[in-house]
C-alpha cells in the first residue's frame, strides 16, 4: 500500500513538473494576482472632492473652509455662491461632498454662539459617505471647540487660523483616540493576508478539481480504477503534492506580504502554517468533491468559480461578516475561508496566539475533516 502510494506520488510530481501550463498557473498567476489585487482591493478613502457653497463670504466662513483644506482628507473641487453649481458638480461626479455655509453664518456665531452648516454627501457608496461625514463632522466639532476655548473676543477669533491655548481652571475632559493594530490605516495590511488566503484556496481547489477531471477526460482515470489501488491511496497521492504546493505558496506569500506590502507579522509563523495545513484540507477536499461531480474541465471550472464566489463574498475578505444579517452570519460559519482569514489577520496584525485563535483552528479542523470526508465518500472507482 505504501509502495503504491510512493509510485503514484512520483507520477504526480513528475507530471506537475513537466506541465508548463500548470507551473505557470501555480507560480505566476498567484503572484500576479497578489500584486494587482493588493492594489485594487482597497476601500481606502483618498482626499475627497469638496465643493464649497459659501453664501456668507466672511472671515468665519473662510476659516471653517481652511480647517477642511488643512487636512489631507479633503481637497476643494470648486467654490460657488450658488448651490446649484454644487448640485451639478455632484451629479456629474465631480464632487463627493458639498459644504453649504449659509448667509449670516458669522453673525450667528458671534451673536448667538450657535450656527448651522450643511453637509451634502454623495451617498451612493454608503459606507464611504459615512466615513467622509465623520471626518467632516470632526473638523466642524474641532473648530467649534477651538472657538469655545478662545480668550479672544469671538468677533476677532472667528477669522484666525491658529488654535489658541485652552482656558485653564474649567473641568476639561480631553478626548483622545487611537487606531490599534493598523495605526497608519493601511489597507494593504488588512487586505493582503486575506487575498493570500483566497489565492491558496483557488489554487488548491481548482488544481485538485482540474487535475482529477483531466485524468477522467483522458481516460487514464479508468485505467487506474481497474487496478487494485485503494481509493484512499489514490486520493492521498493526488492531494499530497497539492497540499505541499499550497503550503509552500502560503509561506512564499507571507514573505511577499512582509517584504513588498509591509504587512507586519506580529504572531507566530508556525501557528499560521499549522492553520494553513489544516485549512488546505478543506480547500483540497472541496476540489476533490468538485471533481466527483464534474465530467469535463469546463464544468469543473464553472462549479469551482461559482463556489468561490459564494466563499469569497461570505468570507469577510471584502466586507465584515459582522455586518451581515444574523442568518447569513450563521451560514458563514460553515465557510472555512471565513475562519482562516480571520485567523490569519488576527495572528499577523494583532499577534494573536493559540489562546486567541483556537476557536478558528477548531472550526477549520472540523470543516476540513467534514469536507474531505464527504469528498472521499463521494469518490467511487465504479459508476453506480
Amino acid at each position: 500500500m505504501l509502495r503504491s502510494l510512493r509510485v503514484l506520488l512520483t507520477k504526480e510530481f513528475l507530471q506537475i513538473r513537466r506541465d508548463a501550463v500548470i507551473l505557470r498557473m501555480l507560480l505566476v498567476m498567484p503572484l500576479l494576482q497578489l500584486l494587482v489585487l493588493a492594489n485594487a482591493a482597497t476601500f481606502e478613502i483618498r482626499a475627497s472632492d469638496l465643493w464649497v457653497v459659501d453664501q456668507d463670504r466672511t472671515p468665519a466662513a473662510r476659516a471653517l473652509v481652511d480647517r477642511f483644506t488643512a487636512t489631507t482628507r479633503f481637497s476643494v473641487a470648486g467654490y460657488s455662491i450658488d448651490s446649484r453649481a454644487g448640485d451639478d458638480a455632484m451629479l456629474r461626479g465631480a464632487a463627493d461632498a458639498l459644504l453649504v455655509i449659509p448667509p449670516a453664518f458669522e453673525r450667528d456665531v458671534v451673536r448667538d454662539r450657535a450656527a448651522t452648516v450643511q453637509l451634502v454627501l454623495n451617498a451612493v457608496n454608503g459606507s464611504q459617505a459615512g466615513l467622509i461625514q465623520s471626518y467632516a463632522s470632526e473638523i466642524v466639532v474641532r473648530y467649534s471647540a477651538e472657538l469655545g476655548r478662545t480668550r479672544l473676543p469671538l468677533r476677532r477669533a472667528v477669522g484666525t487660523g491658529s488654535e489658541p491655548a485652552p482656558v485653564r481652571g474649567q473641568p476639561v475632559i480631553d478626548i483622545r483616540t487611537r487606531a490599534r493594530y493598523n495605526t497608519s490605516l493601511d489597507y494593504q495590511r488588512f487586505m493582503v493576508p486575506g487575498i493570500l488566503v483566497q489565492l491558496i484556496t483557488l489554487i488548491g481547489t481548482l488544481m485538485t478539481a482540474l487535475n482529477i477531471v483531466r485524468e477522467k477526460e483522458a481516460g487514464t482515470l479508468d485505467q487506474l480504477n481497474v487496478t487494485p489501488i485503494r481509493p484512499a491511496v489514490f486520493i492521498a497521492a493526488k492531494l499530497l503534492p497539492l497540499w505541499i504546493i499550497g503550503l509552500v505558496e502560503f509561506a512564499g506569500g507571507l514573505v511577499i506580504a512582509r517584504v513588498i506590502f509591509n504587512v507586519p507579522i506580529e504572531g507566530s509563523v508556525l501557528l499560521l502554517l499549522v492553520g494553513a495545513a489544516i485549512y488546505l484540507l478543506a480547500a483540497l477536499g472541496l476540489g476533490l468533491w468538485v471533481s466527483t461531480v464534474s465530467d469535463t474541465q469546463q464544468q469543473a471550472l464553472f462549479v469551482t468559480f461559482s463556489l468561490m464566489m459564494v466563499y469569497l463574498l461570505m468570507s469577510g475578505l471584502f466586507t465584515p461578516v459582522r455586518a451581515m444579517p444574523g442568518w447569513v452570519q450563521g451560514v458563514a460559519q460553515l465557510n472555512p475561508m471565513m475562519h482562516f482569514i480571520s485567523m490569519v489577520r488576527a495572528v499577523l496584525l494583532k499577534g494573536a496566539g493559540l489562546a486567541e485563535v483556537w476557536r478558528q483552528l477548531l472550526a477549520l479542523g472540523l470543516l476540513g475533516t467534514a469536507m474531505l470526508g464527504l469528498a472521499v465518500s463521494q469518490y467511487r472507482k465504479r459508476t453506480v
Binding site: 509502495r3 503514484l8 512520483t10 507520477k11 507530471q15 479508468d222 485505467q223 481497474v226 487496478t227
Partner: protein, 252 residues
C-alpha cells in the same frame, strides 16, 4: 468450441445495464474459457464498451451476474481488479511520462518488486524493440508504438484475464499484425484475452466470437461455426446479416 479443463475465466449470466429507460446491455450470457482469445464484436453503440466496463468493475451491473477469474464482479471487485489487465478504447497511458516511468508506475501499483519491474521492463523493451525510446515521453511515440506499449503494460503483472477495448483503432495493418502476435503470446502464457474490435479480419484470429446487436448477444461460436451457421463464406457477411436489424436477427 475448444473445451479446456480449468474453470471458465469469464462468466456472464443475464448481465444487464440500463441507463434510465435505455437498456445498453440486455441480459447477455456467455462463458470464456481460460487461455482463450475471445472476440467481442458489434456495431457502434451495440453495448460492447458497457459490457466491458461492467466486467472490469468500472460500472455496476443493473441486473444479472458475472464473474471474472473466478471472482464475482458485484461482491469481489477488488480481487477481480487484482487479476485483470485493461486497455481502453482511449489511449490509456500517461503521455507526459516516459516509457520507463509508465512501466514503473503500473508495476508499482500492482505490487511488483523493483527487481521484477526492472526485469520486465527490459523484456518489454527487447520485445518491442523500444530500447532507445525508454526515456522518451510517451506523447512523442507513434500511435502504433503507443498501442503496443499500452498492451504490454496491461499485461505487465501477468493478469489472468486481459480486456482490450478496440485496441487497434486507427493503427496500420502491419502494426495490427504485430499487435496480434503480442496477443497470441499472452494467450500462450495462459492469459485469457477478451478483445473487442471493428476489424473482421481480426475476428478471424479469435478462438471464439460473440456478436452483439442492440445490447444482446446475437451470435456466439468459433469463426468457422458462425460462417457455417449463417451459410456465408466470410465473417463480414455474418456481421452484415446480423447488424441489418433486430427483425433479421429475430428470424435467425
Amino acid at each position: 468450441m475448444t473445451i479446456r479443463s480449468a474453470a471458465p475465466a469469464i462468466v456472464a449470466r443475464s448481465l444487464s445495464r440500463r441507463f434510465g429507460s435505455f437498456t445498453a446491455v440486455d441480459r447477455i450470457s456467455f462463458e470464456v474459457q481460460a487461455g482463450e482469445v475471445f472476440g467481442f464484436l458489434g456495431a457502434n453503440g451495440a453495448g460492447k464498451t458497457t459490457a466491458i466496463r461492467m466486467l472490469t468493475g468500472l460500472l455496476s451491473p443493473s441486473d444479472g451476474e458475472a464473474s471474472v477469474a473466478g471472482f464475482d464482479v458485484r461482491t469481489q471487485i477488488e480481487q477481480v481488479r487484482r487479476h485483470i489487465g485493461y486497455m481502453s478504447q482511449r489511449f490509456s497511458l500517461y503521455d507526459d511520462l516516459t516509457v520507463r516511468e509508465n512501466i514503473r508506475l503500473y508495476g508499482g501499483i500492482y505490487g511488483l518488486t523493483d527487481a521484477e519491474i526492472a526485469e520486465r521492463t527490459t523484456a518489454i523493451l527487447a520485445e518491442l524493440r523500444f530500447a532507445p525510446s525508454v526515456a522518451a515521453l510517451v506523447r512523442s511515440l507513434p500511435l502504433g508504438w503507443k498501442q503496443k506499449l499500452a498492451l504490454s503494460v496491461a499485461l505487465l503483472h501477468r493478469p489472468a484475464v486481459v480486456f482490450l477495448d478496440e485496441p487497434t483503432g486507427g493503427v496500420d495493418p502491419i502494426t495490427r499484425r504485430q499487435f496480434w502476435e503480442l496477443i497470441y503470446q499472452a494467450a500462450a502464457r495462459g492469459t485469457t484475452v477478451f478483445v473487442t474490435t471493428h476489424y473482421l479480419d481480426e475476428a478471424e484470429y479469435c478462438d471464439r466470437l460473440s456478436i452483439m446487436v442492440d445490447g444482446r448477444v446475437a451470435a456466439l461460436g468459433t469463426p468457422s461455426a458462425l460462417k457455417a451457421e449463417f451459410s456465408v463464406p466470410t465473417l463480414d457477411e455474418v456481421f452484415v446479416r446480423l447488424a441489418r436489424g433486430p427483425a433479421t436477427g429475430a428470424v435467425l
